[in-house]
């Protein structure tokens, strides 16, 4: 099974590590996916952190992963640039959503308009930043940035429904999960173990277990702390 999951995809497809990008093997991408899903589900169902949806998290994780690692080396300028771009996009998106809120048009064209405007504004901002701080050391595929922009449709919906502060809260918890995913994925020892042992299969099993998890989420221990500490006279009588 380990062979199937790690070596077979590389050998069958003849896709070499370098052809994909940097130091990550083709199999790494496949084997990392269940791990990322497991981490996200763990935080949601066991810790009790509310996150943005799973697909959104996975896209952002892979996008950042793609941008961060080059030749198996952590690329700090790329990381900082992408972080700046994402934060800038989030802020612009928030402002544009408020600005366009009262436009009388169909919902989807409105979302399209917001995303297009933010894309243009983000790139203009980058051009302006470049005037002051030359961004020569940044080597990012435009696909990475477009993927971030498109995946933000999700964010607009939540922004409209839940308000700015709740959305920020959700984004921060999602960013933490993505950060943990990235730290794991960038760790060579972990990737080596992932290829050598059936950790991904274990992850799938754990996902299955989480699917039936009925116990309290960790956050609920805080939420219901007073109730959990309440002594019931009935219990004493029954004893």
């Amino acid at each position: 099974m380990v062979y199937f999951l790690s070596f077979l995809p590389n050998n069958l497809t003849n896709i070499q590590t370098e052809n994909i990008r940097g130091g990550l093997q083709f199999s790494d991408y496949i084997l990392l996916l269940p791990i990322f899903i497991l981490i996200s589900l763990f935080f949601h169902y066991i810790i009790g952190w509310k996150n943005l949806n799973l697909g959104f998290q996975l896209i952002l994780t892979f996008v950042f992963l793609e941008a961060l690692q080059q030749d198996n080396v952590f690329n700090l300028p790329n990381f900082l640039f992408l972080l700046l771009f994402t934060v800038l996009t989030f802020i612009l998106l928030g402002l544009t959503a408020v600005l366009f809120k009262n436009l009388t048009m169909h919902y989807k064209p409105k979302i399209g308009l917001i995303i297009s405007s933010v894309t243009l504004l983000s790139f203009i901002s980058i051009v302006i930043i470049n005037l002051f701080i030359p961004l020569t050391s940044i080597s990012l595929s435009p696909f990475v940035m477009i993927a971030i922009l498109i995946s933000l449709e999700n964010y607009i919906k939540i922004l409209i429904r839940k308000g700015f502060m709740k959305t920020i809260n959700l984004i921060l918890s999602t960013a933490t999960v993505i950060g943990i995913n990235l730290i794991l994925a960038m760790n060579q020892t972990f990737r080596m173990l992932l290829n050598k042992y059936p950790i991904s299969i274990l992850a799938v099993l754990l996902i299955f277990i989480i699917g039936y998890w009925k116990a309290f989420r960790l956050s609920e221990y805080f939420r219901f702390w007073e109730l959990l500490n309440k002594e019931h006279p009935d219990d004493q009588e029954n004893n």
């Binding site: 979302i111 709740k166 116990a215 989420r217 109730l227 959990l228 219990d235």
Partner: protein, 489 residues
């Protein structure tokens, strides 16, 4: 220290089985008990209204349904009343709801906070609803315009601008928990706990508010609150009007929508009384904080019950989950509240010979009496046999005859017997029966009523052909308050 920690862990562990968490709610209740049809009804306010009206359950009056952009275009201020509420038919989590309290001479609509909305902006807002801005998945939607409910007079001092809403959690068509959400300044006049509204738990039996919490933004835990901010008015002790009607409508509404696990939301109109405003197939868990009690143990109690009628469901919810107020009465008076039929534990001669019987409370009887067969099972066979040998007639035609024998036996044989059998009471009881007079012997017994143990004297008689094997008389009821509505299952 370690002992304290162990004790605390044990308490937490025990309480976990009383509180409903979100994972369990999703897997064991929402998905298991609600059908796709139920979700379809509950998620669509228009459909909910139709189903409720068909079932004869009062809801807020529908003024208009806006389905097309043409209808928005043709909408004039005169076609709307001065006060109304607008809701997206498929809105998510209460988003997109606007309440308008008045209209000025320039046809600007006025919100609760006094802010004005021009009629053109109002039309844009309606267009946004139609375009699916507030609906699930951004799908096209309808705008529902309905009457604004006028706040019930008795609630005015407790609310900030808006109208409080009452939520009844139902399971298998039995109300299991209830709470009322009071709009506050922090929640901008909205009955939304996430924004800072206050929620008060409601005693199911009496409809009186108990414990209260104020919700915090960001979904955090609520903090207990006692007084209405800036006043000396308590949130607790408020009697919810039309309580029986509310319970009845909650049961009937959940039946109409086949909502087996969910919540029914009410507003109370000062003229029309309780009106169902929404059915929720995915209810939150804040009711547990408001009631300072878990919901899971209540759900477990209802799980295997078969509900025969609406009346049955009302009685069940009151007897099973009422009692908050009862606890307060007990705290003030120092007496326990018992029902007309009360389980009594009777301690036998030997430690393992205890029996629990259903006793009928009879305030007309001076002393308690017990069936002779139960007394035998408790291990008092010898005492009963010895008394049989005295040859006391079953009935006496005159009181004098009975008194004579009573006196004679008490002065002679009874003294001897009580020396031999210490559980035997030395006196005989003269009882007036339908067919004359009887002399009953009695036993010194230890009994437990509602957790209170006491030594008492219980007369022994034949009750095996009667419904209840024991009668609790006045002498044993001195430490209790009797509530005829209290039913113990």
């Amino acid at each position: 220290m370690i002992r304290k920690i162990i004790k605390k862990i044990a308490i937490i562990n025990k309480n976990r089985s009383r509180i409903l968490g979100i994972n369990r709610r999703n897997l064991e209740y929402i998905k298991k008990y609600n059908s796709p049809e139920t979700f379809r009804i509950c998620d669509n306010k228009l459909l909910t209204k139709k189903i409720l009206s068909k079932a004869g359950i009062p809801t807020t009056q529908l003024i208009k349904v806006i389905k097309t952009h043409k209808e928005v275009e043709n909408l004039t201020p005169d076609s709307l009343p001065k006060q109304f509420v607008v809701k997206p038919a498929n809105g998510v989590a209460g988003t997109g709801i606007e309440i308008f309290f008045n209209r000025d001479s320039e046809n600007n609509l006025i919100r609760a906070d006094g802010s004005k909305v021009s009629f053109n902006s109002f039309k844009i807002y309606l267009e946004n609803i139609l375009n699916g801005e507030y609906s699930l998945g951004g799908k096209s939607d309808f705008a529902i315009i309905e009457e604004r409910v006028k706040n019930y007079k008795g609630f005015r001092n407790y609310t900030y601008k808006g109208t409080p809403d009452i939520r009844i959690n139902v399971f298998k068509y039995v109300p299991v928990m209830a709470y009322i959400r009071w709009p506050t300044k922090e929640s901008q006049g909205k009955a939304n706990m996430a924004l800072g509204a206050v929620a008060s738990g409601i005693d199911m039996a009496t409809g009186v508010t108990t414990h209260s919490v104020q919700g915090k933004a960001f979904g955090g835990k609520g903090r207990s609150i006692e007084f209405v901010p800036g006043t000396n008015l308590r949130y607790s002790g408020i009697k919810i009007p039309y309580w029986n009607k509310i319970l009845r409508y909650a049961i009937e509404a959940s039946k109409a929508a086949k909502l087996k696990f969910g919540a029914v939301d009410f507003l109370i109109d000062k003229e029309k009384g309780p009106l169902v405003v929404e059915l929720n197939a995915r209810p939150g868990l804040s009711g547990q904080l408001a009631n300072n009690d878990g919901m899971l143990w209540r759900l477990k109690k209802v799980k295997d019950l078969k509900i025969k009628s609406t009346e049955h469901a009302i009685n069940l919810c009151k007897s099973l989950f009422g009692g908050e107020i009862e606890e307060e009465i007990e705290a003030i008076t120092g007496r326990s509240v018992i029902g007309l039929i009360q389980p009594v534990k009777i301690y036998g001669k030997k430690p393992n010979k205890n029996i629990i019987v259903k006793a009928k409370v009879d305030t007309g009887a001076d002393s308690s009496s017990l069936d002779i067969k139960v007394a035998q099972e408790l291990g008092f066979k010898e005492e009963i046999e010895a008394l049989k040998e005295l040859g006391i007639p079953a009935t006496f035609s005159s009181i004098e005859e009975a008194r004579q024998l009573q006196k004679k036996l008490e002065e002679t044989k009874m003294l001897e017997l009580t020396e031999k059998y210490p559980y035997l009471f030395p006196r005989l009881f003269l009882i007036k029966a339908a067919n004359g007079y009887t002399l009953r012997f009695a036993l010194n017994l230890k009994i437990n009523i509602d957790g209170e143990e006491k030594e008492t004297v219980v007369t022994i008689t034949h009750r095996s052909d009667l419904t209840y094997q024991m009668i609790l008389g006045k002498r044993d009821l001195k430490d209790f308050i009797i509530d005829p509505r209290k039913i113990i299952i």
